[in-house]
Every structure is written in structure tokens, then in C-alpha cells.
Symmetry: C2
Subunit: 143 residues, 2 copies
């Protein structure tokens, strides 16, 4: 009779786009998903939100180099608290492509994202959003 | 002369599979990525690591219902500290499919994952891993 109820009690709430962009600008770590030749893949990246694009730096020889040529991707950031079962997430869908313009590269080398680990990462990949959506879950509030 | 160095100083370290499975078993929130008709998609889910599968509950009418029929997916969990630029992640690649066997459903309704938000979520999706990889990044340690 006192067992934990096994039904959820939280609520989803859509986040306005302006709030999603604010969260993108405030954070520096997210996850990029794309369709690799052997199926969907997902990897965390350190990014910067730079001129409405999500930009990250990678190795020309790593798996993320597959995104050098224009590739459809999804990108996600979130903050999730497993203890309170609450949090938010922002999902960007769009296309990724290597940055090749010299003035953009100059600016990115000066102000752009810095990866966390050592290694030669000279390739900047920029994601141009097609859609940006987000939602928060607040819970559990039992009605 | 005193400006912050803009090169990363951390180190990546591969996590053994047994450690990845331990982390999967210890956490309850992750992100699933798949190739939707309009491109790659990624969404957070509440999961349970149940008999070597990642199981989550969703609505038969939501976007994740696309995974009801056998679909290649990637799944990721992580803990990332943007302040110390350190953390770990585990990436599972495999295929998702709805759970349909009655004895499995009985067990999942009793012990399986509970979504955080209200709503009719009667579809259990199970991801069978093909590969499980993980890595930690510890940084920055300047050599």
C-alpha cells in the first residue's frame, strides 16, 4: 500500500525559441548525431554558439571528419537531474559542414571553441540550424 | 603574456566495456539518436538497463514510435562538467525495436523505466547493443 507509484507525475513544457538560443549561447558541451555508413552515431563535442551556428573543432582524421562535407545532423544540449527527474533540453536539426572561409577561420581560431583534450584538431565544423526546439520537464508534481 | 592558453590540455581515456555497462546500469537518463525521414534526430529518454538492453517507454503516437519496427540507433549517456572540462560518456550503437513478448512486458511494467512526465506511454522500446564504447576526459592537466 505504501509502494512508490510507478506512474510519472511531471510535466513537459515547450521552451520558446529565444530561450533555446539563450541556452545554446550559455553552454559549451553538447552531442552531435549523424548517420554514419554503419548506422546512426552520436558523440559529445565542445562547441561555441557563433553567429547562429554551432561550431566545434575536430581532427581531420577522426570520425567527426565525416561531417566535413555537408551532412544532415542533429545536435542536443541538456541539463538533467536524475534525482529530481527534472531538466531541460534543446534539439537543433540542420546540416553540418566544414568552415572554409578564411575570415571565419581567423575569428574561430581567436574566439572559437576549444576542445577539452589534447590532439591535433584543426577542422572546424559548423552546424546551420534548420529547426531549434526545446522543452523542460518539471517533476514530479502530483496533481 | 598572461592570456589564457587557447590549446586544450586534457586527456581522453577509453573506458573498459565492463565499466561502460556499470555506468549504463547506474544511470537512468540518456539520449537516443536515429535517422528520421527528414534527417538525423536525437531525443532524451528515461531508460532502464534491463537484461543487457536499454529500454525506454514512449507514446505510440510520438516521434519515438518510429522505433517500434527494428531501426538502427545510437544511444548515449554522459556526465560532463563544463567548469572543470572533464567528464565521461558511453555510446551504444545497435538496433531498437518494440518489446512485444508478454513475459518481458509483464516484467517491464513491474520493474522497467518510468518516464518523468505524464502522458500515455504504453510502448516499450528496447535497444540491443552491437557496440558499447566509452571514454573519459580529464582536464586540464598541463604537461
Amino acid at each position: 500500500m505504501t509502494s512508490q507509484p510507478r506512474e510519472p507525475a511531471g510535466h513537459f513544457e515547450a521552451l520558446p525559441t529565444v530561450r533555446c538560443k539563450e541556452l545554446l549561447g550559455r553552454h559549451t558541451a553538447g552531442r552531435v548525431a549523424w548517420t554514419a555508413p554503419d548506422g546512426p552515431h552520436i558523440l559529445p563535442v565542445t562547441y561555441a554558439y557563433h553567429n547562429t551556428q554551432i561550431v566545434f573543432r575536430t581532427s581531420a582524421h577522426g570520425v567527426l571528419a565525416a561531417l566535413e562535407r555537408r551532412t544532415p545532423v542533429a545536435f542536443e544540449i541538456d541539463e538533467i537531474d536524475e534525482d529530481t527527474t527534472s531538466g531541460w533540453n534543446v534539439v537543433v536539426r540542420g546540416s553540418a559542414q566544414a568552415v572554409t572561409r578564411s575570415y571565419e577561420l581567423a575569428s574561430l581560431w581567436r574566439e572559437g571553441p576549444v576542445p577539452w583534450a589534447q590532439g591535433v584538431r584543426t577542422l572546424f565544423i559548423a552546424i546551420t540550424p534548420r529547426t531549434i526546439t526545446g522543452r523542460a520537464v518539471r517533476g514530479p508534481f502530483v496533481d
